[in-house]
């Protein structure tokens, strides 16, 4: 609720600032604008502060004063308990294995498909591109029942492969690669064709070495998707041995909620969100490009 009022404030101040800065910036508006932005930033970060702070508090401290903003004593006890007793090591390995399959699958499938859609003239190209667009639009909730039946029929229920399979060739990745490939001049490929190079040779030797930035974006976006995907692994994974981190965390927290073991839950939350946040801080250009380019996560 507070976030809303705060942003309405920003709204007003920012209009002032936008208009003025277009002509000549007025010094009065600046501090107000910055104050509003800092307030919004603090509100945005509050959940992270709570989460990380809470994960570092001891069980006793949380029980006696659950609402305290800052921990009195820092302890890593919650994290030790998490990995020792709750099987988080296994969940983490599962998440990494699934993410690796998804990333490799997307790089292979999207590079090939995106290149073909952007750079090859062939019968049915519009149809193929239509399939990509359709795949982006069909809501997951509309198809998960048949997807689950299919996964069971293929004998992949409760397996990591069953979790990874639907995400192996995401339309978003194909779209990113197609957009990127369109920006590569045709002359480069045409020259190789005149020299008698075959289509596969052109793809591997000329196109792929140029596609680095798109491959990087696809790697990050598909990793993010796989790491954070919740509902599908929740449906497919039935035993704890095939839980991914989000599913394991949700299950652990449902068990921990009865004993209000918030320390354990928050430690789990930190373990799940930290790798992606660190990756994001290091490589945010690609994250933002990926999301701005496709409007998807």
């Amino acid at each position: 609720m507070t976030a809303v009022t705060a942003s309405q404030n920003t709204d007003l101040t920012s209009h002032t600032a936008t208009a003025r800065s277009a002509v000549r910036p007025r010094p009065v508006a600046r501090p107000l604008l910055y104050a509003a932005l800092v307030l919004c930033a603090l509100l945005t970060l509050l959940p992270f502060v709570w989460g990380i702070g809470g994960s570092l508090r001891s069980l006793d401290e949380i029980r006696s004063d659950p609402g305290a903003l800052v921990p009195h004593h820092f302890t890593l006890d919650n994290f030790t308990r998490l990995f020792r007793t709750q099987g988080f090591g296994r969940f983490m390995v599962n998440s990494i294995v699934v993410a690796a399959m998804v990333v490799v699958g997307n790089i292979v499938a999207a590079s090939a498909a995106g290149y073909a859609l952007a750079k090859l003239e062939f019968a049915g190209r519009r149809l193929a591109f239509g399939a990509v667009m359709a795949a982006m639009m069909v809501p997951f909730t509309a198809v998960f029942v048949p997807q689950f039946v299919l996964t069971v029929d293929m004998g992949l229920a409760d397996t990591l492969a069953g979790i990874a399979l639907p995400s192996l060739a995401m339309p978003m990745s194909v779209f990113i690669m197609r957009q990127y490939a369109s920006s590569i001049p045709d002359e480069l490929l045409e020259a190789a064709r005149i020299d008698g190079a075959g289509e596969f040779r052109i793809f591997f030797r000329i196109f792929l070495p140029l596609a680095g930035p798109a491959v990087a974006t696809i790697t990050i976006m598909s990793f993010l998707n796989s790491w954070n995907f919740f509902i599908w692994p929740l449906i497919v994974a039935q035993s704890t041995s095939s839980y991914t981190l989000p599913v394991g965390l949700a299950a652990t927290s449902q068990a921990a909620a009865h004993v209000t073991d918030y320390g354990l839950m928050l430690a789990g939350a930190v373990v799940v969100m930290l790798p992606v946040l660190v990756l994001f801080l290091c490589l945010q250009r690609y994250f933002v490009q990926g999301i701005a380019g496709t409007g998807m996560r």
Partner: protein, 317 residues
């Protein structure tokens, strides 16, 4: 240029003639078509298996009495026509969940867009210092795992949690947020807004940056104030972005699942159960036919909303 050759090829090369240039071109374009489809094959296999066939199958399932137990006895399944749909629209739970989903959309979409747009305007107002840092901070929730975020939400909004502690400090007795029929929904929506405003912000920023600066300068020279610039330049030129963001967010809130599932599992008393959660709960009790019918309703709603929004927000020429 190959296409023009291909189109001419059938007419100009009668059968049996020795290989001519057009024939070779046709051969090459056939070969290229084959290669292209080969390149597309990995994507197409996954697309057919997990999007195309399931979409048709969902419609098929929704017309049967398929149950979870039938997966081993496929011949026990009967065609029941529109019975599942009739059942859905007589089910008070489903109707309530449609209403709940409408609230998610009606409150979540404007809030998320408003916050995202305001922050995009602020960051695009010519400030230089700390701009990158602000953008990073506002975007961080987008990449944050929803299960982790929901746990922090539960921790913060529990009866003796931080939110109530802050409220207590200023003299309010904090409620039990997630167990209150009227307060749970705002808390769930707040999580959705927090997770999505960064996406809206980044898209609006990209849109704002594509508006040429000299348009504003010209308007300022003509004496247009800040409000008129916003209303007559920024908003109209930003229409395509606004359209895209609104469709994107509407589609997201129409299928909202993670937030209510994790925070309340639809409770208390179903006050936060969305259509997607209904679909999942029906699936969970083995009612695959009913579940598919509900999911097909979602599909139709998503398609309808996209069409309507494109109509409404299309620039009037």
């Amino acid at each position: 240029m190959t296409t023009t050759l291909t189109r001419r090829a059938p007419g100009t090369t009668p059968r049996g003639r020795p290989v001519t240039a057009p024939a070779r071109a046709r051969h090459r374009s056939l070969r290229r078509t084959a290669v292209a489809w080969l390149f597309l094959a990995p994507f197409l296999v996954v697309f057919l298996l997990y999007t195309a066939i399931p979409t048709v199958a969902a419609l098929g399932f929704s017309l049967t009495d398929l149950h979870g137990a039938d997966l081993r006895h496929p011949f026990a399944v009967d065609f029941t026509g529109l019975e599942n749909y009739l059942r859905l629209f007589q089910d008070q739970t489903f109707l309530r969940d449609i209403l709940n989903t409408a609230v998610f959309v009606a409150v979540g979409v404007p809030l998320t867009m408003g916050v995202g747009f305001a922050l995009a305007l602020a960051l695009n107002s010519g400030i230089r210092r700390l701009r990158g840092l602000f953008r990073t901070v506002f975007f961080a929730p987008v990449v944050t795992n929803v299960v982790a975020a929901a746990l922090i939400w539960q921790y913060a909004f529990n009866p003796s949690g931080t939110v109530n502690k802050v409220l207590g400090a200023v003299g309010f007795a904090g409620p039990n947020w997630l167990d209150d029929q009227h307060l749970a929904m705002p808390v769930v929506i707040l999580l959705g807004v927090w997770r999505n405003f960064g996406t809206a912000m980044v898209l609006f920023l990209a849109g704002l940056q594509s508006i040429p600066q000299d348009v504003y300068e010209a308007a300022a020279l003509d004496g247009a104030g800040k409000w008129r610039q916003l209303r007559h330049i920024t908003l109209p030129l930003l229409l395509p972005t606004t359209l895209m963001v609104s469709v994107l967010l509407t589609v997201f809130y129409l299928q909202v699942f993670d937030e209510p599932y994790l925070l309340t599992n639809g409770g208390p008393l179903g006050s936060t159960e969305s259509v997607a959660l209904y679909t999942y709960h029906q699936f969970g009790v083995g009612e695959f036919g009913v579940s598919s019918a509900a999911s097909f309703v979602t599909l139709v709603l998503v398609a309808l909303v996209s069409v309507v929004q494109f109509r409404l927000l299309r620039p009037r020429a």
